[in-house]
């Protein structure tokens, strides 16, 4: 039941409790209670708008950084990963398998902001061996949402 509720909220976080209740065959009160619980348990971390920066005329610079680090004897990658994740420039941070260890998504106002963050703060952290920075050039899809609108509603208005 929580799983069904979560997928509905992941699709539309603004869905009304009354609508969710009707879909899941329960009461709006029960839905509100569940959502509150999921928030308290930090299963639901936050609700955010997915914004198209280009249409919003933002000149935000985005980059992905591959980071290689030395794991520590105790705590492995966790301590360093937590340190990196704290920076407000960092949007997401993942531990990866393969040729590097951490994948860090960052955002800054200008190219200099991002470059400065990488060269002055990230690379100088003890334990960071190397970084490779890739800048975003264009967005086609983010968080499951296509930039381009789906083909206009072309179904017949009434059909058998």
């Amino acid at each position: 039941m929580d799983e069904a509720l979560l997928s509905l909220l992941e699709e539309n976080a603004l869905a009304k409790p009354e609508t969710l209740a009707a879909q899941l065959q329960t009461t709006p009160e029960e839905i509100k209670r569940r959502i509150k619980q999921l928030e308290e348990d930090r299963v639901i971390l936050a609700y955010k708008a997915i914004v198209d920066d280009e249409r919003a005329k933002r000149t935000q610079v985005k980059a992905v950084i591959e980071v290689r680090v030395t794991p520590e004897r105790e705590g492995g990658f966790d301590r360093l990963a937590h340190r990196i994740a704290q920076y407000s420039e960092v949007q997401s941070c993942f531990l990866m398998s393969g040729g590097f260890d951490l994948l860090v998504f960052i955002e800054g106002k200008t190219l200099q902001d991002v470059a400065g963050f990488v060269s002055e703060r990230l690379s100088t952290l003890p334990g960071v061996l190397s970084t490779a920075t890739h800048f975003n050039l264009k967005t086609y899809k983010q968080q499951g949402v296509l930039r381009q609108k789906a083909a206009a509603e072309e179904r017949l208005a009434v059909s058998p």
């Binding site: 009304k16 009707a22 899941l24 179904r155 208005a157 059909s159």
Partner: protein, 396 residues
């Protein structure tokens, strides 16, 4: 010496049209459609096709087919690889095993398959029994095949199931075919294995051929779907029809199939080979992809339909419009009798006053009076607005 030539008797082009074609009434849906078309801002719950776009990997399979230059005819029966995938799929999900080489025919939708089946088996005047309210094509397709359409009304209090007693009462010495459609468009009714067995017993006893249109079978929300073809003694007297339009959101690909004993498929193929030659190859390639890798998409779409159904049922009941909870397909068929209006006036009034399109129940046969069909193959946001408008319309 010249023979006298009789003067022409044709007065208008209409006289050229064959009588049995002229006798086919205009579709109620078409009239309604024209009015909806002429209006703007309409939310339509009148659409009988999925609102999802065909899953990308299926579209991509069609694109690849074009890229590889797969643009020719195929065997009349359809691509063998597709027929093999169909027989596996039908064996797995419907518990009937057909032979790909001789017992499957790939068609241009269930529409063509139904037409072929009727034309292949009916002699003029043979009676075809079917349960009603039903899909709008059944009665005209029977008439076009020179058969006689015999509708058996189903009722909301029976959950729109075909009752054995009602079937028996409709039988005559001319009865030849029983046409079934469960889950049903427009009611969402289904039949369990035990209930189908009672119908099957009558078919065996009276030697009826069954044509079963199971196009909505993947969209069953409660009990697992049972095909009448899988019941004892039924495979040899059943033509099983299925397609890709609904389950895989592929209406525009126009692709479906029939499975039946070899002689029946051969009879259908004789009509198909001259009338159609073969189903389009690009659509056949896409259908193959759907069968091999489309299951997850299908299940996700089904889950969305199910949740929307729950929403609509709840809202209609809240408004005081009783409705049977559909067990399958993607239509709600609420009763609007309590509003004092008939289906036609309800649907036209709702359209004019609130710009919501629902289809009058009578479009699906006289027994649909007192109901309207609301499709929930419509986005949730639209459904939410639609139910508010309907509530305002009926003043509740």
């Amino acid at each position: 010496m010249h023979l006298p030539i009789s003067p022409p008797t044709v007065n208008s082009p209409n006289d050229y049209v064959a009588e049995h074609v002229r006798s086919i009434p205009r579709s109620g849906i078409r009239d309604f459609f024209e009015i909806v078309q002429s209006m703007s801002g309409v939310i339509s719950l009148g659409i009988g096709e999925p609102d999802f776009v065909t899953p990308w990997h299926i579209r991509e399979a069609a694109i690849y087919a074009l890229e590889r230059g797969r643009t020719g005819y195929t065997s009349n029966l359809g691509l063998l690889r597709l027929r093999e995938a169909i027989t596996d799929y039908v064996a797995e999900h419907y518990s009937v095993r057909y032979t790909a080489a001789t017992e499957v025919l790939v068609t241009v939708g269930v529409s063509e398959a139904l037409d072929l089946a009727l034309r292949a088996v009916l002699n003029p005047g043979d009676e075809v029994l079917y349960h009603e309210p039903c899909y709008v094509s059944y009665s005209p397709s029977i008439a076009l095949a020179h058969g006689r359409a015999v509708a058996i009304g189903t009722r909301e209090e029976d959950e729109f199931k075909l009752r054995p007693a009602a079937l028996r009462a409709a039988l005559t010495p001319k009865s030849k075919v029983l046409l079934l459609n469960f889950p049903t468009n427009p009611t969402g009714g289904v039949m369990t294995a035990a209930e189908l067995e009672e119908i099957a017993a009558i078919c065996r006893e009276r030697n009826l051929l069954v044509i079963t249109d199971e196009i909505y079978s993947e969209l069953s929300y409660h009990e697992a779907h049972t095909s009448i073809a899988s019941l004892p003694g039924m495979r040899e007297r059943t033509i099983f029809l299925h397609g890709f339009s609904k389950a895989f959101a592929m209406t525009g690909f126009r692709i479906g199939y029939a499975c039946a004993p070899a002689v029946l498929i051969d009879a259908m193929m004789r009509i198909h080979q001259y009338g159609i030659l073969c189903a389009p190859i690009v659509s056949q390639e896409a259908a193959l992809e759907a069968l091999l890798r489309g299951r997850d998409d299908m299940q996700q779409m089904r889950e969305k339909y199910r949740l929307r159904r729950n929403f609509l049922v709840h809202k209609f009941r809240e408004m005081g419009l009783p409705c049977f909870e559909p067990r399958g397909a993607f239509y709600l068929f609420p009763s609007i009798k309590s509003t004092g209006k008939n289906s036609h006036d309800f649907a036209f009034g709702l359209l004019k006053q609130e710009q919501v399109a629902v289809v009058p129940g009578t479009a699906f046969g006289a027994s649909g009076e007192g109901h309207v069909r609301c499709s929930y193959a419509t986005a949730m946001e639209q459904l939410e607005i639609a139910v508010q408008r309907i509530a305002r319309f009926i003043g509740r």
